[in-house]
Symmetry: C2
Subunit: 323 residues, 2 copies
């Protein structure tokens, strides 16, 4: 049986991944500090153990994973700071949660002789390339500390491939939407409209245009890459090839679903916050050549998530899951 | 008067830079932990103050720089682990000395409102591109922890350009040679041949081919870039455009100068050590377009350094300087 160690496995993406791995019959050990992640996101799943630990603490992480076998282990490193804005004012957040967790995960893997790592990277490693479709070989010039610490993580993973890693998959995620939502624009708009159904103010000018992938398709893509026979270190853009959906359009979809009479107002800044990338478009032909592309466009992924998140916020999460 | 803060300023490159800045009449504050750097490398220079401090310690660095003015300050961040091999077995060395020093330097600059940073980056950020001439937009895929932590440093500097840095210069150095030599192949070969004038064993197969720049030309290039009117964040390859010189040829030049009767033996491995890049070639047209190219080829730079290092190892360093 394969054992999967999933850092951040009680969070939004991690809980979806842990569920998929559990349902495939494998053993899953979730590592999570439970700041954003929640124990109940994993409730009712078989073969899952949750270890509450700060994954940047090498000694604590080592202890938490002591009973995991030495062989047939794969590590999925997903935990990170998910508040990109916060990293602009306090870089120590991304240093600790996004980079030093990667450093610690690698140190534990080296010590245990675990060679297989799937890493949740991000389109933020590229920085601002305008509307050029960015492939995996594009210049990486991050404009946020989040993107910088993810690129830093990729860099030390690449170096580890020269010493002890046998398979590293650097998966560059776009914006990911779905439930259980713990952060992000759709959740933010939904909560603010539920609190004040008459108005919604959007950061920036609303024209920031991003690529979105639904979490169900993201998990499918991650498992697809896992199933391929590939080289030691591989990097893939995961996402749709469309030009994305702009923030003002997301706000309207949420408004139409949650509070149809609300007025939406925008500011004048081209960027929503410092470190925000106002436009981004993926070239995903590398993964498409292997045989995987998402079925949902960015707009369709968001529309599906808006419905799911509206239900999540009106009902307890578990009720949503069991519906 | 401009104040220059030079981290690693008592080391090989740093001491050469500090001397040039001092001789230009500016004020220089050197930050160095004096592990490889030496106080005497700065002896006799005017307007230089040395602060012995671990630059990764934010509080200690803040205290050490408290009396530097708030304005007209430029920071030259050169300190790093210079033992690339060591980083393969103990990544904490590069984490601390190469990356967390950059993080701390940025935190101090943010707190003090200093906006000008010159950063000693490296060709190691590129990884192995074979004999393709690598320009600044090439894919960065480091194969050593040293290269990874330098790329990580570049990444957080780029992010800092979005918040408080006004001018960042990411200068990607090749192998740099000259005196005062503290590490590197020429010094290593020289010392080993002085200890045993009959034989010299070279790591790898001797065919690893690297680009070399003499430190005198490197300092010239750094000051040249400083004098240009450029954008907020600029990256430059610094070095010659030739295909470099191979390790076996360097060994022969040192042998001919230091111990002419020694026999040189090589191993069979294509790489000298894990994380070594066996071949590397720069595209330096970006800096050439601004008007600077080195006068010395890689081979000429090495030949000059072999002579200087032979003198350094036979005579006290200061005597060499004053000759």
């Amino acid at each position: 049986m394969t054992w999967h160690v999933v850092t951040g496995g009680a969070g939004f993406i991690g809980a979806n991944l842990a569920r998929a791995l559990s349902q495939a019959g494998d053993q899953v050990v979730v590592v999570d500090d439970l700041r954003l992640g929640r124990r109940e996101y994993l409730a009712g799943l078989a073969n899952i153990q949750l270890r509450k630990v700060d994954a940047a603490d090498i000694a604590a992480l080592t202890a938490a994973l002591r009973d995991v076998p030495d062989v047939s282990v794969e590590v999925w490193h997903l935990c990170a700071n998910s508040d990109i804005r916060k990293g602009a004012t306090d870089p120590s957040v991304d240093l600790h949660a996004t980079f030093l967790t990667t450093f610690a995960v690698l140190e534990v893997m080296r010590a245990r002789g675990w060679g297989v790592l799937h890493f949740a990277s991000t389109s933020a490693v590229y920085g601002d390339h305008g509307m050029a479709a960015v492939d995996e070989a594009a210049n990486t010039r991050p404009v946020s500390n989040y993107g910088a610490m993810k690129l830093a993580s990729e860099a030390i993973i690449r170096a580890a491939c020269e010493t002890f890693l046998t398979h590293a998959r650097l998966l560059r995620f776009p914006n990911v939407v779905g439930v259980p939502a713990t952060h992000g624009a759709v959740l933010d708009f939904t909560r603010r409209l539920m609190a004040d159904p008459l108005r919604l103010t959007v950061l920036g000018n609303g024209r920031q245009q991003k690529v979105y992938l639904h979490v169900a398709e993201l998990i499918e893509a991650m498992l697809f890459v896992r199933a391929q026979a590939l080289g030691t270190c591989e990097v893939y853009n995961l996402g749709p090839s469309d030009a994305g959906i702009c923030v003002a359009d997301i706000a309207q979809i949420v408004r139409d679903r949650v509070a149809p009479s609300a007025t939406i107002s925008c500011a004048n800044e081209a960027r929503g916050w410092v470190g925000d990338v106002p436009r981004f478009r993926y070239d995903v032909s590398r993964l498409a050549a292997l045989g995987w592309t998402p079925k949902l466009t960015s707009a369709a992924a968001v529309a599906r998530a808006v419905e799911e998140i509206a239900q999540q916020e009106r009902a307890p999460y578990l009720a949503t899951l069991n519906a």
